[in-house]
Amino acid sequence: MRDPFRIPSGCAVSGILNLDGTHVSGEKIIRSIEVMHERSNGLGGGFAAYGIYPEYAELYAFHVLYDDPLTAKDVEAILKRSCTIEHSEEIPCKETENIQNWPVFKRYFLRYRGRSDCEDDEVVRMVMEVNSGIHGAYIVSSGKNMGVFKGVGYPEDIGKLFQLEEYQGYCWIAHGRFPTNSAGWWGGAHPFGLLSWSVVHNGEISSYGINRRYLQNFGYVCNLQTDTEVITYLVDLLVRKHNIRIPYLGAVFASPFWEQIEKMEEPKKEFFTSLRTIYGGALLNGPFSIIVGFPGGMFGMVDRIKLRPMLAAWKDSTFFLSSEECAIREIAPSLDRLVALRAGEVISERVGERNSHGQKLTVSGV
């Protein structure tokens, strides 16, 4: 089932973040990604939604895909080793015109029982154990108060299958995939999720081989053979473990050229030199534009010579990222501001920081 090959793919990506924390249903993001229908080919689509499980906000929400429902026992055994399953249920799906068959999706709400300082590492370890060890089961997301919904089909159909209009979230991210051959496996669709990170990506990382080996050094096992998986792990490593802040991820993933670094002033120059020298293995080379969701925020970035499109826009207190302007205009015909991301640029927004006019926002219910 699981695809052993890395498949290059073109893609559509889109994201919406309500900076004031307002929750909206998935209907908007489906409309947005649907506009870019031509950028997908029906072989993969998916969504990540933040703020959808307020009643379990403290717990890890695991979305698990079962190609073989009999493996549920094994998965649950692993989960139970360090967590208590407070609640579990099948994720409701509704047959659509274009999707009649789908694997079983379950969600678990888990309370971690161990020491709090290694909680995230333990969750990562659990995810790795299931995803590389249990054939027939696959954890698609493992964050808190968020979830990933994805599968084989056009994204708008996947959205309808999972009835995303029934969920309320403050941030939505979507992906439509154009793989160059049949993906055929639901777990291979995007977004890719780990902990509360979710990543959608358009592009092909030519540095994949070394990024993957670099991650090995830090105990991340890449078994999905997708660029998105690698990007997600790198984001997790750099931000969560190495204390690099999101606005500086560009200095690693899409590092400036040495010539540009040479011209910087101290201490910036030293910082960028150190980042590039030490994190050379994390440089993402090749065309990409990515949107990454995280609790309370979302950021977008493009590769170091801008080989893939990405636009950012603001309207009142909503922040948009998308491959194409039309996908933003579809849901927000008039905008306060629209910019195309420059090579290596990171544009990041967080709930409650400010709106498009630079005013502080009050936050409700994140």
């Binding site: 092909e204 030490i278 994190y279 050379g280």
Partner: protein, 506 residues
């Protein structure tokens, strides 16, 4: 004296129609093969002494000369090759070890030639190096596992101090060739070219002639078992220090500079008596274990104030991955691995041709092992031994090397014709010799220019290939074996190399 059973290895043909009896060939052959006549317009040759260096052929103004390998006419025998017979005849005559120069010339598989590179098509664009920057800049040295960043408001404060690094503009360094094994002019060519091209050359184990101290910023000095010419200033003037444990051409044995090559300048540089053989012992007599190595590494680091990287060079032998891991743990900032095809000024032929393993396999294993142990970033990997072209360089980098050393390729760039007679001290190309008549044949201005051209040409080619793969910084190819595929190799070889077979996708 009993008649020698050896007969000429080369056949010299002189086209009588063309030869003008100018005697250029006579004057060029240091082996006195050609002989002219004062009275007649004829030149004759004594083929027994010819080593096939092609110097006379190159300089003959009328292209009258050809020097070819001679068909020796032994009865063909699949088991007894000519070289076996020759070796036995020679040894039966001399009773000595067969000496030779340069690297192993046996037909072992050259894995570079079984590895193919990738290129972008449709799904990602290739990059045109003429229009977009492609970066080859490489830093060699220990890399911290992570930056210790502390945030003061929105500004980062970095608490990690980068370990000393060697910055290269092209990932190619001239490997250890001592002044002694090569001539002053050859060394000068290398040092000047390294400076101009933004890379380094390695002093070898022969100390550093005072004239080359000003090139210190582009020189890696070597400390080998003989400790020739090693003193405080020698260590301090250099950009990095390399401890030589082993050499790919002769793993397990020491160095030998024949007395004929120990001229006045060399005796001064090495601090040894004139015309005495310079023999470095097989082991360092203060390193009998990995702990001892660690002590030497840190003694040197103390001597240079921890300001420059310290490298340790080992030969590629069977257990190289574990040894390299030990070397990294002993504190080496750079690990140099020298494969079986690495060159030398003088080595017993039986060792050169039979001891050690190809660098490709050693590199693949060392890189993988260090990554599995999570210590790959502790040291940079520098490989040597058999790099012949920019294609070999880029494949080495994709297999996991940070940069490569070139020795033979650099000498060929200077004019070496691989006659393998470096140990005789009569290099007709003025490279591996100290004879003043011969050394001036290498004009270092020309030498520098040729080497700089060579590096520039390779850099262009590497950029073309990187661009083709859609990569615009060399670090994105380093260790990126996804861009390599193997042809004509067994499953075991592919797995040792960590490379998929050609035709397999991602």
């Amino acid at each position: 004296m009993a008649r020698s059973l050896l007969f000429p290895e080369f056949k010299i043909e002189r086209d009588k129609e063309r030869c003008i009896a100018c005697q250029v060939c006579v004057r060029q052959c240091a082996n006195d093969v050609h002989e002219g006549s004062d009275t007649e317009d004829t030149v004759v040759s004594q083929e027994e002494k010819c080593v096939g260096c092609q110097r006379c052929v190159n300089l003959c103004p009328t292209n009258a000369l050809t020097v070819q390998t001679r068909k020796d006419g032994f009865r063909p025998n699949g088991n007894w090759e000519d070289r076996h017979l020759r070796g036995i005849y020679k040894q039966a005559e001399t009773g000595g070890i067969l000496l030779t120069g340069m690297g192993c010339d046996r037909l072992y598989p050259v894995y570079w030639d079984h590895l193919l590179l990738n290129a972008s098509q449709v799904t990602n664009p290739s990059i045109d190096p003429l229009r977009e920057p492609i970066e080859l800049t490489t830093y060699l040295g220990k890399k911290e596992e992570k930056l210790d960043i502390h945030w003061e408001g929105d500004s980062p404060v970095v608490r990690t101090r980068l370990a000393p690094q060697l910055g290269l503009e092209v990932p190619v360094i001239f490997s250890a060739m001592s002044y002694g094994s090569i001539s002053y002019n050859a060394f000068r060519s290398l040092a000047e070219a390294a400076r101009e091209a933004g890379t380094f050359c390695n002093s070898g184990e022969g100390g550093l002639h005072p004239d080359f101290y000003p090139f210190g910023e582009n020189i890696i000095v070597q400390v080998a078992s003989g400790r020739f010419g090693v003193h405080r200033d020698y260590l301090r003037v250099a950009a990095a220090v390399e401890i030589k444990i082993g050499q790919g051409a002769k793993p397990g044995i020491g160095g030998h500079l024949p007395g004929e090559k120990v001229s006045k300048e060399i005796s001064r540089t090495r601090k040894i008596p004139l015309e005495s053989d310079a023999i470095s012992p097989a082991p360092h007599h203060d390193i009998y274990s990995i702990e001892d190595l660690e002590r030497l590494v840190f003694a040197i680091k103390e001597a240079i104030n921890y300001e420059k990287p310290v490298a340790v060079k080992i030969a590629a032998v069977h257990n190289v991955a574990a040894i390299a891991s030990g070397v990294v743990r002993a504190g080496a900032d750079i690990v140099t691995i020298d494969g079986i095809r690495g060159g030398t000024g003088a080595a017993p032929q039986v060792i050169r041709d039979n001891v050690g393993i190809p660098i490709e396999l050693a590199l693949a294993q060392v890189d993988e092992r260090l990554r599995l142990e999570g210590i790959r970033h502790h040291s940079s990997l520098l490989i040597a031994g058999g790099i012949r072209s920019s294609a070999d360089v880029i494949k080495a980098i994709a297999l996991g090397a940070d940069a490569v050393y070139v020795g033979t390729a650099a000498l060929v760039g200077l004019g070496c014709h691989l006659c393998q007679k470096c140990y005789t001290g009569k290099c007709n190309w003025g490279i591996a010799t100290q004879d003043p008549v011969l050394t001036k044949r290498l004009n270092p201005n020309i030498g520098r220019r040729r080497l700089v051209n060579l590096l520039r040409a390779w850099a262009f080619e590497i950029k073309e290939m990187l661009g083709g793969m859609g990569v615009n910084a060399i670090e994105s190819l380093r260790g990126n074996r996804e861009h390599l595929r193997a042809v004509g190799l067994s499953r075991e070889e592919c797995s040792v190399l960590g490379v998929k077979a050609a035709g397999e996708g991602w």
